[in-house]
Amino acid sequence: MIKSIIGHPVVLLVAHRIAMGLLLLFAASLLIFAGTQILPGDVAQSILGQSATPQALANLRAELGLNEPAVTRYISWLVGALHGDLGTALTNGQDIADAMGRRLGNTLFLAGCAAIIAVPLALTLGLVSVRYQGRWPDKVISAVTLASVSVPEFLLGYIVMFIMAVRLHAFPSVSTVYDSMSLLERLNAIALPVTVLVLVVLGHMMRMTRAAILNVMQSAYIETAELKGMRPFRIIWRHALPNAIAPVVNVVMLNLAYLVVGVVVVEVVFVYPGMGQYLVDHVAKRDVPVVQACGLVFAAVYIGLNMIADVVSILANPRLRHPK
């Protein structure tokens, strides 16, 4: 019994995907480390600036361990990161893992709220535009989509802020959150960034959902269902959607991964205390350990979501369920 489960092609494929994901994450950590270490810019020089004395440079290099070979530093960094020790920030000596913990929570809360609204909305709008393909609802939806993907996230943020906060006074323009805030106050504070994030991913997600379902709509069994006289929405719901589930899940996951990046910019616009702002602040200060740690976390989330997308599409493919 166990042997047959282990030998099952689906299990093998899933295990293969997860192993690939982990390998990719490992390689990504190498890339992030190499990107900040081996590039021509010297970390010590960029922290102290051009006017630094050679003595000060030498001291800082010794303090940062820059005199050891890159491989040694990489291994000790990676081992530390695996144990939850991300080192300390150069600029204020704070423990990075501590500083990051709460911010990561804030960011996931923001992205989670956006995802809860955006995913059902995008799927519904995708279904509507397939149902009314080529007619005005479809055209309106694709025009709005084109407009929303043509404006960068931060500008969308300011447009929303200008209309909702400054003109209408509906929500606060700056999303400050404290620990003592109740959930409702918190939701009120992040209403605008969530709106922006929803707008950012909605267009893509809807367009790709539409494409995935339209692809299935050309199958022979859809024609059969049409000839049986089924209602268009029912055909889409009962016949097209279940067969499009793998691509649709893929679309959702890809866009959630995209959300992770959109969050960086939106946090800066609304001065929200999350990971994105933490990263951007410390890039400007050239605080390399913080940048590395943030890069690693962002990469892990991104790779993880992509991996889940692959695993779900394997599981959703019935052809793989029964070994030949």
Binding site: Y158, V261, A284
Partner: protein
């Protein structure tokens, strides 16, 4: 050849207008880009068509010069991305074997980190200057171009005329530039439009975060950054670049869409 549809025509006119404004910025802009000519955030007037900015510079002139920088950086990065991405993509498709494996896995790796995050990580140690920005953006985006050109070239590489060229004893470089490139050009041209828009959004985002074009120069993202404090007082100066970016992006998209449909219908049965 069919008539050019209205949407593509509008797209071309608007795109051309932006490019011309960028090229002739010195001639058409009413004031210098760093010249303080009024009060802080003067409203729209006959002297200042878009008002003035956060320190009293003419906003229209800032926008024209900003467009010049935005378009120049985005175009240069797009060219770099296509030169490297397409070359290595074709090379991988023509060579196959381990060359293809190594390049493709390297691209998988680069694409496993979101472009903005990777750019931020690299810019945290490099001096932020315009050549560095073009290099970083171009190389990060060349991964997308690589994927597309490899996919297109794999289809072309199995054609009889490629085999004929190989049997004639032509080298790999000759095959890439004389056989693959002309036959893979049209999908790449349409993609170039989309990549260019992505570059415009990319550089604007970096500048907005303070990690792109440095003051006193400013691209459109930088103008947003300079004027963002005005938003809470109801001054819409920071929103003007939004109009510029969005209209440029939409018009390039319209042209790219048309190029794509035109070339795919030209392809006929090869599909």
């Amino acid at each position: 050849m069919s008539r050019i549809p209205l949407s593509a025509l509008i797209g071309m006119v608007v795109t051309a207008a932006y490019f011309l404004a960028a090229i002739f910025a010195d001639v058409i802009s009413p004031y210098g880009y760093a010249e303080v000519v009024g009060n802080v955030w003067d409203p729209v007037s006959a002297e200042h068509w878009l008002g003035t900015d956060s320190i009293g510079r003419d906003l229209l002139s800032r926008m024209i010069y900003g467009g010049q920088i935005t378009i120049f950086v985005a175009a240069a990065a797009t060219v770099l991305a296509f030169a490297t991405g397409a070359f290595f993509g074709f090379l991988a498709a023509v060579s196959g074997g381990w060359v293809d494996q190594v390049l493709s896995r390297l691209v998988d790796l680069l694409m496993s980190i979101p472009a903005l995050i990777l750019a931020l990580v690299i810019l945290s140690v490099l001096p932020v200057s315009i050549p560095v920005l073009i290099g970083v953006m171009g190389l990060i985006e060349s991964t997308r171009v690589y994927r597309l050109s490899r996919a297109v070239a794999v289809d072309v590489a199995v054609m009889d005329y490629v085999e004929a060229a190989r049997l004639r004893g032509e080298g790999t470089i000759w095959v890439i530039f004389r056989e693959i490139l002309p036959n893979a050009l049209s999908p790449l041209v349409a993609e170039a439009g989309l990549r260019f828009i992505f570059m415009v959004l990319f550089i604007s985002t970096l500048s907005f975060l303070g990690l792109g074009v440095q003051p006193p120069l400013a691209d459109w993202g930088g103008i947003v950054k300079e004027n963002k404090e005005g938003i809470v007082y109801g001054i819409p100066a920071a929103l003007i670049p939004a109009v510029a970016i969005a209209t440029l992006a939409i018009s390039v998209n319209l042209v790219a869409d048309w190029v794509l449909t035109r070339t795919s219908s030209l392809k006929g049965g090869r599909g």
